[in-house]
Amino acid sequence: MARVAVDVVIKPEILDPQGKAILAALRRTGHPGISSVRQGKHFDLEVDETVSNEDLEEIAAHLLANSVIEDWTVTRLDQQEQVQR
């Protein structure tokens, strides 16, 4: 069993209303040092040895992320290493 993290974020050119609202809240509550917030999704997967990096990439691209508006990264946590595309 291995643990994998997939982080999905909205592409930089696309509006992120959530991030905007959080940034505004941080401003109001006295955190001027934060200049940008983008909110995305985080997935923790448990996978066995039959699951290859290609499988993970395909799962991230087709199920976990919406490739029209989101980017994603896949990280095998035991190796702290980002899976390359």
């Binding site: 050119e13 696309i14 209303p17 905007k20 609202a21 919406n66 029209v68 508006i69």
Partner: protein
Amino acid sequence: MSQLTSSEQEKVRSLLGREPTETETGIFTVMWSEHCSYKSSRIHLKKLPTKSDRVLVGPGENAGIIDIGDGIAIAFKIESHNHPSFIEPFQGAATGVGGILRDIFTMGARPIAVMDALRFGPLDDPQNGDRNKRIVEGVVSGISHYGNCFGVPTVGGECVFEPCYNGNPLVNVFALGVFKHDEIFFGRATGIGNPVIYVGAKTGRDGIHGASMASAEFTEEAMANRPNVQVGDPFMEKLLLEACLEAMKTGAIVGIQDMGAAGLTCSTSEMGSRAGTGIDFDLKYVPQRAENMTPYEIMLSESQERMLLVAEKGREQEVFDVFKKWGLDAVTIGTVTDDGMLRVRNHGVVVAEIKNRDLADEAPLYDRPHAVAPYRPAALEMPAAHAAKLTNRNSTADLLALVGSSDLCSKRWIWEQYDYQVRTNTVAGPGLDASIVRIKDTETSIAMSLDGNARYSVLDPREGAKLIVAECCRNLSVVGAQPVAATNNLNFGNPERPEIMAQLVESIEGICEACIHFETPITGGNVSLYNETLGEAIWPTPVLGIVGLMKTAAPAPIAFPKEKLDVVLLGGLGPADHQRLGGTQFAKVILNDIWGLPPALDMDLEKRLHSAIREIVNAGLVDSAHDLSDGGLAVALAESSAQGIGADIALDSTLAPELLLFHEGPSRVLLSTTQFDKIAAIAAKHKVDALRIGTTMSGRLQIRNGSATLVSVDVAMLRKTSEEALAGKLELAHA
């Protein structure tokens, strides 16, 4: 991506007297796109009836407006967001809701109701089923997200599945708002020297070329080229609504227009051309979200939740104060001028200089060839092979198949995701024939219905359109409302093909005839052409949204409420034959085919029926009322049973069972009552048949014809079949 044709480019050169700049080319391209200029449909739309005593504002403004008495008016319109909803269903549908809401409140009205007309490919399509499911989920949650968060109830709609929408789903959203006569605003840049103010969200690179994308067919290339997705922020829109309505109250606003398709370009040039003025502004003042945007990008951006307004000179601060209170950006970007020019500067340097009139009035106008028969992918007669399948059918099984089919099943899975009662005006939400919202502090309610049966339109676009208008008006009449005005969304394929153009022209002419007949002038609408993917056109899909007025009262339910009521078929069994069975749900679900002609409509009879049913329900004579439409008599009986108790129906007809039970002849309403004699008298007065066909009873729906029992089914079974079908087909039952 649609581009200007070479003759259009030539016209641009001659209007300008020089070569256009890059920004100017962009401006002309979007303003002269099909979406903004209606260049293929304009000459035909002119035929539509647009006037009545109630119409205060007809087509041409952001929304039509009618008077409803007591000094109150309503604004309403329907708008499509088809292409964006295919590319990104959630955001596409969400921003579709956002766009139509802005059209309503830009006129000063507070939106009080939304309805949605949806068309998807089949959920069990062998190739596209999974994608279709994702599109349904995405579209419905997008509408739910935007409407719910904005705080407008989505009170009804319709949802139909056909293979022609596999690559081209339709998302048409209707919105309606209410205000006082003296609160109406227009998108006009009047008053030379007045400041032009930008409010709302910052401008990003979103949706550049959305308008021209909506004017081109889908190709593989367009699908790969996806940076057009716009993201909606309903929270921002809610703030914008409150701020705009409050700013309007200051009296400092002269004109206001939302930035929809073609964003800043369309709003500046339209506001100027409507007022006969010019606008001179500098892009450096436009709040920007992305870095290093070019003038071209800023002018064509379709970032959502933005408005342009013109204020009275010297009173800007009053406007700014209101927007500041709601935490929104408001900045002066330019002024109204007397020279009629749209003059766009970038840090002082002029990057575009075009006569506003040239963009609006000089837009190309095409009389596209249409002197051919409308495209018709179906036989005229019932294929001979079906005859054998029609003998010895198990009509109970057929009825259950119909009740559980994707078009006829309960759409609860959809509408429960919509907050259909926020703001506490919803007298009747989804589930009735028409939806009703009351106008607080008056005795008036607004009823509304959306319909657009494309099966009829594809068989005969002219008759199909009339049937749609008739059905809308019938739905309104059943809840006791008088139909008064209409809006329409014309969803068609590529108008450059004569047989598609012929569908469009026939449909428009059918709408004209029917809207004149039923006295429901068209106050606005939308045309969505090029609904084709990889060369495959959708069926002609005109969607009508008709509104009616009524005295505020609870309408009768669809459900048979209790035992021992007379079941009455107002309008009688009607004529039927096998040629006209071809457009029905029976043909679709049971025989998996389409042929022939749509049901025959007698518009005079239909109108008399509307008068009769209105008089009957408003006299409080019924315990339930439901019009007959898709699926015919048996499906209407099943629906009234599934929502309430059953009925024992005894018919005496020589029609074949499939015709008797499932023909879709219009001009009929199903009632239950204890006052048959009074109903019969009213019906006779209006020269409409009133046929007593049975009695309500608990537990079962039974339909006999003469000595034969055609249908016998448990009400619980009907209910379960109808209620569980959609979730089941979406494979969500166990999620």
